[in-house]
Symmetry: C2
DNA sequence: CCCGTGTCAAGAGCAGTGCTCTCCATTGCG
DNA sequence: CGCAATGGAGAGCACTGCTCTTGACACGGG
C-alpha cells in the first residue's frame, strides 16, 4: 500500500492478463447469447468455449447474472453507438428521426437475442444496476437531441409551458430538448411515447406479435415511424 | 372405436378426473408463475405443490414448454376478457379507447409475470402455437371494434382508400374497421402502431425502462394514451 | 537470491433442473 | 371376470449454478 496513487495508472502484467481473460469470457458469452439466447446461456458452456473449467470463471464474474449484466451493458453500448452513427445532425429533423429509428431496428434484427435481453422480460426479478443506466439512455438521448434541434430551428409551435416533474423528471426533461420555450410537458410526453413506441414496434415485430398482420416489415416500420415523427411535429 | 360419435359428448369418469388434475396442475403452475416468473418456474416444484412426483406431470403435459404454452393461452384469455369487460360500447370512442387501455395496464400491473410471459421475450426460440392466436388477438379485436364504431359514427375523415395486403393483411384489415370508406391503410397503420404503442408503453413501465423518467405512472399513461387516441382520430 | 503471499486454475461435490424409463396398482370396458 | 389402458412412483441420466478445497504459479520484499 505504498503505491503512489490510489489507482495505479499503468496496469501491471497481472491486471493486463486478467482484463484479457475477462474480455475472452465476455466474447464467448456474447457468442453463446447470439446463438441460444439469454435463457439458455450456460456459464459452463461459456467456460468450455474458452477452455476453462466452470469454477475458474467465477474468479472473473461472481455469478451468471453478473455475466449477463455485463452483456446487457455492452449491448446498450453497441445499440447506442449504432443509433448515434446513423444520426446525421445536418439533416432535417424528420430524416434524422427516421434514420435513427431504422438503425435501431436494423441492430435489433441483426442481434435478436441481444435485443431481447435488453428490451424483453427482465431475466430474474429484474434489477437494473445503476451502471447500465447511462448506456441504456444513449438511444433516448440521441432522439432527444433531434427534438431539441427541431425546437431550436423553429419547426415546433410554441407550447403552453406545462411542467410537472412528477410527469417527466427533470433529468429526462433536460435530455428532451431542455429549456426551449416550444417544448412543454405535452411535447415531452409525446417524446416519451414515441420512444416507447419505437421499441414497442420493434419488439412486436421481433417477438412475433405482428405475424399474420404485417408482411412487409420494412415498409410498415417506415410508415409507422413517419406517423410518430408527425406526432412529434418533426 | 365403435363409439357413436367422433367425440363423446358426456365425459367418462376417467376424463373428468383427468380434466380436474390438469386444472389443478395449471392452477399450481399459475401460482408459481405469479411468484417466481416464467424463467424460474420449475415443473418439479409444480408437481410438489399438487402432491405428485415430477414424472407423473408428464402424463398431462409432454414438456415444461407445453405447460408454459397453456399458461400463455390462459393469460391471453384473461387479459382479453379484462379488456372486453372494460369496454362500454355505448360510450364515445375516445372513452372506450381509454377504458380498454387502462384495463390492459391494470391487468399487466396486477399480473406482471404473466404479462412478461405474454409480451416479453419469447422463452425458448419462440414459436407461437396456432391455437394461441385467437386468444392473443382479443385485445386487438376489441381495439379494432372501437375504431370501426368511430368510423361508422362518422367521426373519422374520409380516407384516400390506400390498400396493400403486404402492408396490413386482409384478416387484420377486417378486424380494423373492415370496409368502411374512411378507413384506409394509413388509418390501419396508425391503428397497428397505436396497438404496439399501448403494449410498448406498458412494457417500458413494467420492465423498468421508465424508472428515472416518469414518476406518476397513472397520469403519464393516461396522457400518452390520449395522444394515441388523437393520432387515431378518436 | 529466496521465501511468503496473493492470484488463479482445476477438481470434487451439492442441490436443483428437465426428461426418460421401468415397474406396478388401479380402473374401466368388452 | 380378465385384459388392456391409464397413470402414479421411483430410479436414473445429463445438465445446470455455485461452493469449497487443493495445488501450481508469479510477484515483490527482506
Amino acid at each position: 500500500m505504498i503505491s503512489p496513487g490510489i489507482i495505479e495508472a499503468v496496469p501491471t502484467a497481472r491486471e493486463r492478463v486478467r482484463a484479457e481473460v475477462t474480455a475472452e469470457i465476455t466474447a464467448a458469452a456474447r457468442r453463446q447469447l447470439a446463438e441460444v439466447g439469454a435463457a439458455a446461456l450456460s456459464l459452463r458452456a461459456v467456460a468450455r468455449e474458452v477452455g476453462m473449467v466452470s469454477s475458474a470463471v467465477y474468479r472473473y464474474f461472481p455469478s451468471r447474472d453478473d455475466l449477463l449484466t455485463r452483456l446487457i451493458l455492452e449491448g446498450y453500448d453497441a445499440l447506442g453507438e449504432a443509433a448515434e452513427a446513423a444520426d446525421a445532425p445536418a439533416d432535417p429533423p424528420r430524416e434524422r428521426w427516421l434514420a435513427v429509428c431504422r438503425a435501431v431496428r436494423a441492430w435489433a434484427l441483426a442481434h435478436p437475442h441481444e435485443y431481447a435481453l435488453l428490451y424483453g422480460s427482465p431475466v430474474p426479478g429484474y434489477s437494473a444496476p445503476p451502471d447500465t443506466v447511462p448506456a441504456a439512455a444513449r438511444v433516448g438521448i440521441a432522439l432527444g437531441g433531434i427534438l431539441r434541434a427541431a425546437a431550436f430551428s423553429g419547426a415546433l409551435p410554441p407550447g403552453t409551458g406545462g411542467r410537472d416533474p412528477a410527469l417527466v423528471s427533470d433529468e429526462t426533461a433536460a435530455v428532451l430538448g431542455g429549456d426551449h420555450p416550444s417544448i412543454d410537458d405535452a411535447v415531452r410526453v409525446r417524446a416519451l411515447l414515441a420512444w416507447s413506441s419505437l421499441f414497442g414496434t420493434i419488439s412486436f415485430e421481433l417477438f412475433g406479435h405482428l405475424v399474420g398482420s404485417v408482411q412487409d416489415g420494412d415498409r410498415y416500420f417506415d410508415r409507422a415511424m413517419t406517423e410518430l415523427a408527425a406526432l412529434l411535429g418533426l
